[in-house]
Symmetry: C2
Subunit: 212 residues, 2 copies
C-alpha cells in the first residue's frame, strides 16, 4: 500500500500530506485512543465516536449487540473509520495561513461481525493487551452471556490513507515582518493521576500504567 | 431543545447518557478543538477531521474552496458533524464493564455555503475570536482573493444531541472483591510550550495564550 489503492482513498486536498505506507497508518491507528465511525442510516450520514483497536492488518471496533450502529455495520453497509490526533494550533501572520498540526487515518470498507464467542474473546483480549498489557488474564473472566451481548466488528486495513501536517506556519514572504507572534501552540493528550474506584478495596493500590 | 427533535438525534444506546440541552451541546462544541464531519460521496460514507466553531446557534466549518468535501457540502448533501472529547479510560474488574469517559455532540443538517466575502470575513473573525481573542484585528488583513479561496459552511444546531459518560466503573456487586485495580485513568488535551516560527523576528516575543 505504497500508493492509494483507489481514487477514493487518495488524499485529494493538499496531496503532499497524503501518506499510504502501512507502518504510518498503523502507528496513527495505535496512537489514537478512539475513532469516529461513519456509516449510512436511512440514507443519512451518521458519525459516532467509538473505541477501536488494530491487530495486525485489521482494525476492530465493538459495542453492545443491541447498538444500531453495530447492527447496521454487521448488515454489510460500508463504513469509514477515521482516527485523528490533534497536535497543535498553527498561527500565521494572516488568517489564511493559519492551520492545525494533526495526524489522521481514514479506512474504508465493510465490517465483518465476529460470530464465534472464542473469536470475540480473542479479539477483546487483543484490545486489552494493546492498551493495558497483562490486564486481560487478571480480569474476572468473560462469561458466555457477556460475549453474546458484545458485538465485535473488523475490517482489513486495505483502502486506507493517512494525512499528516507538522511544523511551523507557512507565511507569504511579504508577511514575515508583520508584527504578530507566529508559530505552533502544541496540543497533546496527556494522562492525569489515576482515580481509584470508590469501591476499590484498600489492599489494591497499584493502577496500571496509562496507555502510551 | 430539551428533548430530541427527531428520532434520528435521539440517543438510542444508553439513552440515560443522552443530553439535549442547548447549553451542554454548545459547551462541548466549544471545548472540542476539531470535529469529524461525515457526508456521503458517491453513495459511500466519508468522515473527515476538520476545524469547526460555534457562533450563537450555528456551527461553522471551512477550508479551501477546491476541497471535495466542501464542494459536496455546498451542493446540499446532508452532513453529520460530530465533536468528541476523550476524558479517560474506565477500568473495571471484568472486561465487559470497561468503558471510556467522554463528551460528544452530533449535529445533523445541511450546510449552507456563505457567499458574500464580508459574511465570510465576519465568520472567520468570529472563529479567531473564539480561539484567540484579539488576534484577528492584529493579523495582516484578509485579501478578497483569500476570501474567495476559502469556503465557509454553516448549519443551525437544531437536530443535535450530546452524549456524556463520567465517573467510575460500574461493576457487578459480586465482582467488587476481584483482586485487580479499578477506576479511571483520566486523559485530557493539554498545551505544550509555544514553538515560535523559525522566521519570527526576535523583537516579537509574546505568544497568545493557548485556547481553553
Amino acid at each position: 500500500m505504497e500508493k492509494p489503492v483507489s481514487a477514493f482513498s487518495r488524499v485529494r486536498r493538499r496531496p503532499q500530506r497524503g501518506i499510504y505506507q502501512r507502518e504510518v497508518i498503523e502507528a496513527i491507528l495505535d496512537a489514537a485512543p478512539f475513532c469516529h465511525l461513519g456509516h449510512i442510516v436511512q440514507g443519512r450520514p451518521v458519525v459516532i465516536p467509538t473505541l477501536h483497536w488494530r491487530l495486525g492488518r485489521n482494525v476492530y471496533w465493538h459495542g453492545n449487540s443491541a447498538s444500531r450502529m453495530l447492527k447496521t455495520n454487521a448488515a454489510g453497509g460500508e463504513v469509514c473509520l477515521t482516527a485523528s490526533l490533534f497536535d497543535g494550533w498553527v498561527l500565521a501572520r494572516s488568517g489564511f495561513n493559519h492551520s492545525a498540526n494533526y495526524r489522521s487515518v481514514m479506512c474504508f470498507g465493510i465490517g465483518r461481525a465476529l460470530q464465534d464467542p472464542a473469536e470475540k474473546a480473542e479479539a477483546m483480549a487483543g484490545f486489552m493487551e494493546k492498551r493495558f498489557p497483562g490486564r486481560w488474564s487478571r480480569l474476572r473472566p468473560a462469561t458466555l452471556q457477556e460475549l453474546k451481548a458484545t458485538s465485535v466488528l473488523t475490517m482489513p486495513i486495505d483502502e486506507a490513507s493517512a494525512k499528516v501536517r507538522t511544523g511551523p506556519p507557512h507565511d507569504e514572504p511579504e508577511d514575515l515582518a508583520w508584527p504578530i507572534w507566529a508559530g505552533v501552540l502544541p496540543v497533546r493528550l496527556s494522562s492525569g493521576g489515576p482515580e481509584p474506584a470508590p469501591d476499590l478495596p484498600p489492599a489494591i493500590l497499584e493502577p496500571p500504567p496509562a496507555p502510551p
